[in-house]
């Protein structure tokens, strides 16, 4: 539906976007995720039309929209601070896009009432935006952007101004809303948790390029680079060299830790002698005080260096033989038991061969 072809944008000597290409399906909840300065907001402004690319093309339903000014693109943006018009009532705010296309007053009234109903604020029409709470402003901004049924909705970190509880609630509402109306959403955020929770697909961006595009679960389980592994969720990164490839197994020599076995990552070209990184999610690492010798597992010795009690889980940082710290998560499943180990305890760190995911450097 929306196709971005080799879009490049330079600001003076800084390249904000470098030949970025991606294609978004109709009805998709697509997220642009990345650290600040990765080019995600620049890309959003290019799609909205507030900025012009230095190269490349943007196609909507197969037609280039590069030359179309923002006011005539069939898409709307939700801005970070909502950008509600302070001198207009909520109803006038929502009616704004309808008035711009010359709707009849009766139709405007009816559609504004429906839009207010859709965001569960039916009696706020006569209020001014300053009288609304953050979450209500957010909903009105969404109602205003959706009232004339755009083909595409662009959301620029719309939840960043809300507190944690409200943000979670709004996330659920956004998912529900997107499913109900079926309009394509392009969502920009630097919050990987938000991206994982909301999206059908995520494009992870870094330094003006796309690092990886995938579904949230695949992105989390099979990152294609150290950067993606590190950026999405918590991750232990163990550097090493590929030693030997056997069937579906790889033997990797980890720096200062010796050889370990792991599975061959999907879609990877892999050869003996290549530098690589074994990525391990903290929740996939087991730590215990007794030595076990299960087949199909990697076993390493370590010392508890640090721990972080988070209520539902405790994060243990274990120092390995090479001085590296690995993180492991232990769920605090029984009441009253906050810790299994103390700082300084000798422990064994273990993970299954299939728990780690190998990325080439």
């Amino acid at each position: 539906m929306l196709e971005i072809k080799e879009i490049t944008r330079n600001f003076d000597s800084f390249t904000a976007l470098d030949k970025v290409s991606l294609s978004i399906e109709a009805g998709e909840f697509f997220t642009l995720l990345g650290p600040s300065g990765c080019g995600k907001t620049t890309l959003l402004r290019l799609i909205a039309g507030f900025d012009q690319p230095d190269g490349g093309d943007i196609l909507l339903d197969g037609k280039s929209i590069i030359a179309t000014p923002p006011e005539r693109r069939p898409l709307h943006t939700i801005f970070q601070n909502y950008a509600l018009f302070p001198h207009m009532t909520v109803a006038d705010n929502i009616a704004f896009p309808l008035r711009m296309v010359g709707c009849k007053p009766d139709e405007i009234d009816q559609r504004v009432a429906e839009a207010l109903e859709d965001v569960s604020l039916p009696d706020k029409g006569k209020h001014y935006p300053e009288a609304l709470s953050g979450g209500q402003k957010q909903r009105i901004a969404i109602a205003r952007a959706l009232v004339n049924r755009p083909r595409l909705l662009l959301l620029d970190e719309p939840l960043s101004a809300l507190d944690a509880k409200l943000r979670e609630q709004m996330q659920l509402e956004l998912i529900k809303l997107q499913q109900e109306i079926g309009i394509t959403f392009i969502y920009v955020t630097h919050d990987q948790g938000e991206a994982l929770a909301l999206s059908h697909r995520i494009a992870v961006m870094n330094h003006g390029t796309i690092a990886q595009i995938d579904e949230p679960s695949r992105l989390y389980s099979y990152p294609n680079s150290r950067f993606v592994a590190d950026f999405i969720g918590q991750c232990n990164l163990l550097a090493g060299t590929v030693e030997q490839i056997q069937n579906d197994r790889v033997r990797v020599e980890l720096k200062g830790l010796g050889p370990v076995q792991t599975v061959i990552p999907p879609n990877a070209t892999i050869e003996a002698g290549m530098a690589c990184t074994l990525t391990l999610r903290p929740e996939k690492i087991r730590i215990s005080s007794t030595l076990t010798q299960d087949e199909g597992e990697v076993h390493l010795k370590g010392v508890v260096h640090d721990m972080l009690y988070l209520g539902d889980v405790t994060v243990y940082k274990v120092e390995l033989a090479n001085g590296m710290l690995v993180e492991a998560l232990l769920a605090n499943s029984s009441a009253g038991r906050a810790r299994f180990f103390e700082v300084g305890d000798q422990v064994e760190v273990a993970w299954g061969f299939e728990a780690g995911h190998l990325v080439m450097d």
């Binding site: 909205a48 507030f50 000014p69 923002p70 006011e71 005539r72 709307h76 943006t77 801005f79 970070q80 601070n81 950008a83 509600l84 018009f85 302070p86 001198h87 207009m88 704004f96 896009p97 711009m100 296309v101 001014y128 300053e130 205003r144 952007a145 004339n148």
Partner: protein, 296 residues
């Protein structure tokens, strides 16, 4: 609590007493003077006499009746209000684009541009009016140019000096900064995201201005209008020097009453009417400004 209250009062004491002594008291004196008789050689006649053990007040409504005897004074008031309205409108027309341009220029240039707006204040008001007298003078380059142009089309030459046009041009020139500064202060605070949002929602450049920028800037427009309208209404120096007989305003007549005709009571009557007109204008402007501010 108590001490804070007292500190506040102490701090407002100097400005309050200043206003009381130099504004409120003189206004009351003027109001009183408007009901007295003029003295024989100017000034005021005594307002009571004591004859044969009887006290008599020498107060009169004559001065106020004189205001309505002919329509000359009321017409002069109307004309002055007309000049003030026209000057205000021209200041909005010229000042708004200027303020908008400054507010939207890069931050590093804004201070310099604002400095240029207030630069005329560095030379004396009268000096600047004399400069306009030179520009408008019959032998000046401007008049020459216009008249030779008119000559080509076979039209009679005109005189720029001593005309209502000269007065209005100079009034606008002098008061323009008073319009630009409050407008700039307002426009500079506008959130640029609002214009992006309006454009995103389908508003063309023209509609973005009239639906977003203009309504949000109204408090600035009213503030600037008050700052221009009030001093213009009471202006006498500019019409005195540039206006000739056609271009005089009500303040010139007031000055005449006090200085030349030596009729203080009638001068007081005219002053009171002018004061009331100015107060009404402020109240009106404040009311609109507040309304516009509330709908923000």
């Amino acid at each position: 609590m108590q001490t804070k209250h007292w500190q506040q009062r102490l701090l407002t004491l100097p400005p309050m007493s200043y206003l009381l002594i130099f504004f409120a008291v003189p206004t009351v004196i003027m109001l009183f003077a408007s009901f007295r008789y003029a003295g024989e050689y100017g000034g005021l006649a005594p307002w009571y006499s004591y004859e044969e053990g009887k006290l008599a007040f020498d107060l009169t409504l004559e001065n106020w009746q004189r205001l309505f005897e002919t329509d000359i004074y009321l017409r002069l008031f109307a004309k002055s209000i007309g000049y003030a309205v026209l000057t205000t409108l021209l200041c909005i027309l010229l000042g708004y684009p200027l303020a908008l341009m400054i507010a939207r220029s890069p931050r590093k240039h804004r201070d310099l541009l604002l400095l240029l707006v207030i630069l005329p204040f560095w030379s004396n008001f009268l000096v600047r009016i004399y400069a306009w007298m030179i520009i408008f003078s019959p032998s000046g380059a401007l008049t020459h140019m216009i008249n030779s142009l008119l000559d080509i089309f076979g039209l009679a030459p005109i005189s720029l000096m001593y005309s209502p046009t000269a007065v209005i041009v100079c009034l606008v020139y002098v008061h323009l900064p008073f319009m630009v500064l409050p407008l700039y202060a307002n426009l500079e605070k506008h959130d640029p995201a609002l214009l992006d949002a309006a454009q995103d929602l389908g508003a063309t450049r023209w509609r973005r201005f009239w639906k977003i920028t203009w309504p949000i800037s109204l408090p600035g427009v009213y503030a600037g209008s008050i700052l221009v309208f009030i001093p213009v209404l009471g202006m006498f120096a500019i019409p005195d020097l540039l206006g000739g007989t056609d271009g005089i305003m009500i303040a010139n007549v007031i000055k005449q009453q006090f200085v030349e005709s030596r009729d203080w009571p009638f001068g007081s009557v005219l002053s009171m009417v002018l004061t009331v007109a100015a107060v009404l204008a402020v109240l009106l402007g404040a009311k609109f400004g507040q309304q516009a501010g509330q709908t923000r």
